[in-house]
């Protein structure tokens, strides 16, 4: 039995976060929350490491794009899904580097589809022969 995917949900709005947590939990994912750029970076430094970051770009203090770029510099291999209503950033180079860009709206199904696509890819890597089970059993990224 493989470990469920561990997703970091980064959004300044607690109600959005709690909704997404609920939706993802319903699909069997494990989740962690981050309310600011600082929290995201803290979560990425801590254990367990997330398998995937779903992040808004609209953060009040640190600009979302800068946070995204920091995440990309810190752990270039971590998959990111940008989930925002800042549609004007869709074609920004840093956003293009992310695994997916989804416009935030009421219906989370598009996000969930995207997550399952990324999850399938991660699962494929995990079940690859020779792939070592993570020591703490949490993240694929500990092996890389």
């Amino acid at each position: 039995m493989t470990e469920p995917l561990f997703i970091l949900i980064a959004d300044p709005n607690p109600y959005v976060r709690s909704f997404l947590v609920r939706e993802m939990a319903a699909r069997g994912y494990r989740t962690a929350e981050a309310a600011s750029g600082k929290e995201i970076l803290a979560k990425l430094h801590g254990r367990p490491w997330p398998d995937l970051v779903v992040m808004e770009l609209d953060f009040p203090v640190t600009i979302g794009l800068a946070v995204l770029e920091k995440v990309q510099n810190l752990i270039p291999t971590i998959p990111q899904i940008v989930y925002t209503h800042f549609t004007e950033y869709e074609n920004h180079p840093s956003v293009k580097k992310a695994d997916d860009f989804i416009e935030k709206n009421a219906d989370p199904s598009e996000l969930l589809h995207s997550i399952s696509r990324v999850a399938a890819r991660i699962m494929k890597l995990r079940t690859k022969p020779g792939a070592r089970k993570p020591a703490d059993g949490s993240s694929f990224f500990n092996q890389v």
């Binding site: 709005n13 109600y15 609920r22 609209d58 209503h85």
Partner: protein
């Protein structure tokens, strides 16, 4: 620096012209004066002096002619000699009378008096000599005859003097005439030289102060306007000056317009910034609400009424979301999600959406639909926003209710392209001219709680569809919006 103020060009030319005219008048007047003097001199010369001169000459001749007859008579006693003498005496007196008549000069008169006095004595003595001869006193007569001869010579001298006096007089008149002619000549030469100098000065002034500057200006003008410099430079120049004045007017209008545009664009920059801030801070919680609504819809079992309430909440949330989106559109151009649509359908949806509000304001919407109206390419959400704006405006304008007539027709743009024209007319209080002028500008609102952005956004959306939004209103007669959209090219 001279104490005398330097006169202007026009004064200089004027003075010059006046002087020139004076010269011409001077020449004319002097010539007339002198010629009239010469004329009178000539008349006098011919009428008096020449007559007197002739008379004097004739007197001398007639006197000379009287000589010898008495001697001849003494020799042959033929009375015909006495007759001849009498004829010449008569002639002499005739000429003397004429001389007295024409010659009024006092010195000549004195001379004439002397002549007649001597002549009378001479004649009397001669008659005596004749009588003596007739009486046969030859010796006595002869001696008297010698004396008479002396008298004759004296008289002859007087006559010659008189003739010479006349000749001298004529000579003096000729000399006087010559002097006058010389004076006229001199004066004319002087005046003419002065006139020439003044004329040259005038021409110089005209050239240097007026014609050359005009030519220079008009040549520049001709260069600028690519006209030929030939022909009337003044008209070229005046055309150019008129052109300049027009240019100035145009420049001023453009300046005013650009100032207005600048002010407007400053306003717009502010709007953009504000809109972005507002939209961003509203959008996040709204997304959250929408998510929860979505979740509720999935899980709730609702009664019909509850379902309707829920739908209204959801619809209004969607509309709110659209409004926020529209705010955001200020900071960047719209991305139209165009599709072929029937405007009729969009208006249906708008009216449906607003049914509650229409009822609240006691406003009824009257549709004048046209069947088979052309489709247009448009973004349904944005167009719905436009009609919502117009109808809500109408509702808010008509505080005591009323009706909004929405009519559809096919028409043409001024350039001939086909279009769909929608007219939204209310029978509310209308607007006065001042409000009407600014109605379509951002932040212009008469409503206490209005943002003043509704109509502005509507205009922008319609223009982004390639259409136009016009507005006409009269106070007390309601307001009419006219929207035109190009017809879709795809069939």
């Amino acid at each position: 620096m001279s104490w005398w103020p330097r006169p202007g060009i026009s004064a200089r030319i004027f003075i010059n012209l006046i002087l020139l005219l004076c010269m011409v008048f001077g020449i004319g007047l002097t010539t007339i004066w002198y010629s009239s003097q010469l004329n009178s001199m000539l008349h006098r010369l011919i009428a008096e002096d020449m007559a007197a001169f002739q008379a004097s000459r004739e007197m001398e001749t007639e006197l000379a002619n009287q000589k010898g007859f008495v001697t001849y008579y003494f020799l042959d006693h033929d009375p015909k000699w006495l007759n001849e003498l009498a004829v010449h005496r008569g002639a002499f007196l005739d000429w003397y009378d004429r001389a007295v008549a024409v010659d009024k000069k006092p010195e000549h008169q004195a001379l004439l008096d002397q002549i007649i006095e001597k002549y009378q004595k001479y004649v009397a003595d001669k008659d005596q000599v004749i009588e003596m001869y007739q009486a046969g006193q030859r010796e006595k007569g002869e001696s008297l005859h010698w004396r008479v001869r002396e008298r004759f010579f004296e008289l002859n001298v007087l006559c010659i003097r008189y003739k010479e006096a006349n000749q001298d007089h004529i000579n003096s008149i000729r000399a006087e005439g010559q002097t006058k002619v010389d004076r006229i000549f001199t004066l004319t030469v002087v005046f003419m030289s002065a006139a020439i100098v003044l004329g040259v000065l005038l021409v110089f002034f005209l050239f240097t102060q007026i014609l050359i500057p005009i030519r220079r200006l008009s040549r520049k003008t001709a260069l600028e306007n690519a006209q030929t410099a030939s022909g009337n430079e003044v008209s070229v120049l005046s055309n150019h000056v008129h052109g300049l004045m027009e240019n100035m007017d145009r420049a001023r209008t453009e300046l005013e317009q650009s100032q207005a545009r600048l002010m407007n664009s400053e306003k717009m920059a502010m709007v953009g910034k504000l809109a972005t801030e507002v939209a961003h801070s509203i959008r996040n919680p709204m997304t959250s609400i929408n998510m929860r609504l979505f979740s509720l819809r999935r899980n709730l079992e609702l009664t019909d009424f509850q379902q309707e309430d829920f739908e209204v909440v959801a619809e209004e949330m969607r509309r709110l979301d659209n409004i926020v989106r529209n705010f955001l559109e200020f900071s960047r151009p719209h991305k139209l999600k165009k599709q072929q649509i029937l405007l009729s359908r969009i208006i249906d949806m708008t009216v449906e959406l607003l049914s509650y509000r229409l009822e609240l304001h006691c406003v009824s919407v009257i549709r004048k639909q046209k069947t088979d109206i052309s489709m247009i390419d448009g973004d349904p959400e944005l167009l719905k926003e436009v009609f919502v704006n117009l109808i809500v405006n109408a509702c808010e304008a008509m505080e005591n209710g009323g009706e909004v007539v929405v009519s559809e027709e096919e028409a043409f743009f001024p350039d001939g392209r086909p279009c769909v024209r929608i007219t939204v007319a209310d029978n509310g209080p209308g607007m006065n001219e001042a409000v009407l002028c600014r109605a379509l500008e951002p932040f212009e609102t008469t409503k206490p709680s209005g943002t003043g952005l509704g109509l502005f956004i509507a205009v922008r959306i319609v223009e982004e569809h390639g259409g136009t939004l016009g507005l006409d209103s009269k106070e007390g007669e309601g307001t009419t919006f006219v929207l035109t959209f190009p017809v879709s090219r795809e069939k």
